[in-house]
Symmetry: C2
Subunit: 334 residues, 2 copies
DNA sequence: TTGAAAGCGCTACCAA
DNA sequence: TTGGTAGCGCTTTCAA
C-alpha cells in the first residue's frame, strides 16, 4: 500500500501538503492540489485508518449497539440498521456493529478508541447503560427515552403523543369504549415505549371521559382470540381498538374476520407501528406510522453534529399523523 | 486514557514488557506479570486500537458485507449477523458492518486498513466482487458458491444435495410426480442458491425417473394459489411438493388448507429453509434445515484461521438431514 | 527475563 | 502558499 510519503514524492511536495490537500484544512494552490490528486489517483493511495486515528484522535467510526436477541423485531431492527449505516456513510463514518448481549462492548470500543461515538438502540426508562455512557465521556445518542438523560442525546418516536392522536381520532368519531392491545411484557422485556404509549392512551381516554380496556397480546392466533375476549370482558361497550403490536396485528385481523366482525362497520381499528411492516398486511388499516428509518437517520445526524463539535445534547421526539385507510368510522348507531 | 507508558511507570517496568505481558509473546516472570496486570487494572488501561493497528498491521476487525435491501430475507440476515458477531467476538474480533449497496466499501476498508479480512454474504455464481476480492489480497470468506473461487474461501449450505435428499425421500415413499416451488427471480435477483437447488432437484428426479414441475412463487395468497395451479397444469400426477421459499410457505399451506387438501394424505410436502423461520409456522412440516447461523459461524472460524496464518482457502458446503414432521407419506393408493 | 529504541503512517504545529 | 518535523501509542527487533 502506498503511504503519504510515496504520494508526496510522486507529486514533488511534502507529506504535510498531501495531508492538507486531502483534508482541505489549508489553502493550497490549484497547481499543487492537482499534482497531489494525480499522484493519489496514480498510486491508488488511501490513508491508513490506524495511523490517522492515532495522529488525529478520530476514527471516523461510530459504534451501533443493536438488540440481536430472538425476541427483538427483526424487521424494525433491520430498517433501523439500514438507515444508520447509510446515513453514517453520508457523513464519512463507518459503523462498528455491537450487540446488546456483548456486555463490556461499550467500555471496550470507547476506551480502546475504536469509535468516535455511539448510537445505542432500545434504551429503557431505567437503563443502567445510561449512567455508564455518561461516564465514558463520548458522544452518544440513545434510541429511547430514559428517565434521566444525563447530558446524552436521545431520539425516539413520541409514542405517548401517538396514543393521544389515536384516541382523539376515535373519540371524535363518537367512540366511548376503546381497547388497547400492546406487546406482552415477556416479549419486549421492560421496553419503555410500551408504557409510554399506554400512559398516553390512558391520559387521553381519561381526558375525553371514555372507557378503556387494555390487554397484552402474543403474536399467535390463539393469543389474539384470547386478547379480544379479555378486552370485551373488561369493557362491554368496546367499539374501537388501538393496536400497538405489529406482530400480533395480522392475527387480530384474522380473529376478527373469523368472527364476522367487519372493519370499520362493527369495529374501528387504529394501528401504531412501522408502515414498512404493516404495509405487508393483507388489509390496509388506519395507521400512526412509527418512522423507524427516520429515527435512525436523525440519530446519526445528531451524533455527527456532536462529533463535529456543533450543537448540544438534546432530546428529540418524532411524530407522525394518523393516515386513514378505512378501518375507522363512527360506531354503530351513530 | 492511560497509555502503555503510564502502565509501565506504575508497574516499574518498560513499555515493551507491558506489551509482552499483554500479548503473551514472550516469557515473563510471574512477579513481573502480576505487577503489570495490577497496574493495568488500577489504571483501567486499554490499548489504543489505532496505535496497535499502526504498529502491528492488524486491526482485529473484520468487515461483514450484508444485503440490506428490501427484498433480502430479514430473518435470515439477522440470524447470520448474530452468528457472525458472536463468533467474531469469541476470536477477539470486532465487526464493521458494510452494506452491499455501498459500492467501493470493499476497496475502502481494505486499502484503508480498516479491517483484517472480510465476510461477504450473498455471493452469486458470477459475482463481479469475487475478482475484486481476489485482487485485494486480504483474507475473505464468501457466503455462496461462485463459479470461480479464485483462491478465496467459500461456505454455504449444499442446496443441490438438499434437493436430492428431498427428492430421494419422496421417491422412496413412492411419489412419481414432484413439484418444486422456489423464489421468483425478481425477489432474489440471480441468487445462485435457487439455481443450485433446482439443478439438484432436476438431477435427482431424472435419475429416479420421476416427473417434475417447477414454479416460482411470490409470498402472497394469490401467488400461492397461482403457483399451485401452475404446477398441476404442468404435471397432472403431482403428489408431492418441495418448497424452497420460506416466505411463500405459509401462503401455500393456507391455499392448500382452503382447498381441503390434507398433508400428508392428499399431498406430501418437504420444505427447505431455516428452522428458525419455518418453526414459526402454525404447522410442522418435513424440513431440510438451512443452518444459517452455522454458516455464519463457520465463515468466521475460517476467516480467523486464515488471519492466524493457518489453513488455506477452501470451499465448504454444509449439509443437513431431513427432519420428518408428518407432512410426507406414500401417495394415495399405495 | 527484561530494556531501549526504531519505526508504523499520519496530523498539525512551528517556521519560512 | 509550502516544508520540516515532533509526536500520537503501540509492537518488535536488537541488546543485554
Amino acid at each position: 500500500m502506498a503511504t503519504i510519503m510515496d504520494v508526496a514524492q510522486e507529486a514533488g511536495v511534502s507529506p504535510s501538503t498531501v495531508s492538507y490537500v486531502l483534508s482541505g484544512k489549508r489553502a493550497i494552490s490549484a497547481a499543487t492540489r492537482a499534482r497531489v490528486l494525480d499522484a493519489v489517483a496514480a498510486l491508488g493511495y488511501r490513508p491508513h485508518a490506524g495511523a490517522r486515528a492515532l495522529a488525529s484522535a478520530r476514527t471516523q467510526v461510530i459504534g451501533l449497539v443493536v438488540p440481536l436477541h430472538e425476541d427483538a423485531d427483526v424487521n424494525v431492527v433491520m430498517q433501523f440498521v439500514r438507515a444508520v449505516t447509510t446515513t453514517a456513510r453520508r457523513h464519512e463514518y463507518d459503523v462498528l456493529l455491537l450487540t446488546q448481549e456483548d456486555a463490556g462492548a461499550l467500555e471496550r470500543v470507547t476506551s480502546g478508541a475504536l469509535v468516535d461515538g455511539l448510537v445505542v438502540m432500545d434504551i429503557e426508562a431505567d437503563d443502567p447503560r445510561v449512567a455508564l455512557l455518561a461516564r465514558l465521556h463520548r458522544p452518544a445518542v440513545l434510541i429511547g427515552l430514559p428517565r434521566e438523560s444525563r447530558g446524552l442525546s436521545c431520539v425516539d418516536f413520541d409514542f405517548a403523543r401517538a396514543a393521544r392522536s389515536a384516541v382523539d381520532h376515535l373519540v371524535r368519531l363518537g367512540h366511548r369504549g376503546i381497547g388497547l392491545v400492546s406487546a406482552s411484557a415477556s416479549s419486549v422485556h421492560r421496553a419503555g415505549y410500551v408504557d409510554r404509549l399506554r400512559a398516553g392512551f390512558e391520559e387521553a381516554a381519561a381526558a375525553a371521559g371514555v372507557a378503556v380496556a387494555t390487554s397484552p397480546c402474543d403474536p399467535s392466533p390463539q393469543a389474539a382470540r384470547a386478547c379480544l375476549a379479555s378486552l370485551r370482558a373488561q369493557q362491554s361497550g368496546l367499539t374501537a381498538l388501538v393496536v400497538h403490536h405489529e406482530a400480533a396485528l395480522p392475527h387480530l385481523l384474522d380473529a376478527l374476520a373469523e368472527e364476522g366482525v367487519r372493519l370499520p362497520q362493527d369495529l374501528s381499528l387504529v394501528a401504531v407501528g412501522s408502515a414498512e411492516v404493516t404495509g405487508r398486511l393483507g388489509r390496509a388499516v388506519d395507521l400512526l406510522d412509527v418512522p423507524v428509518g427516520e429515527v435512525g437517520r436523525v440519530a446519526v445526524e445528531m451524533l455527527a453534529e456532536r462529533l463535529a463539535g456543533v450543537g448540544t445534547a438534546e432530546v428529540r421526539l418524532l411524530t407522525s399523523t394518523l393516515a386513514e385507510h378505512g378501518s375507522t368510522a363512527p360506531p354503530r348507531g351513530r
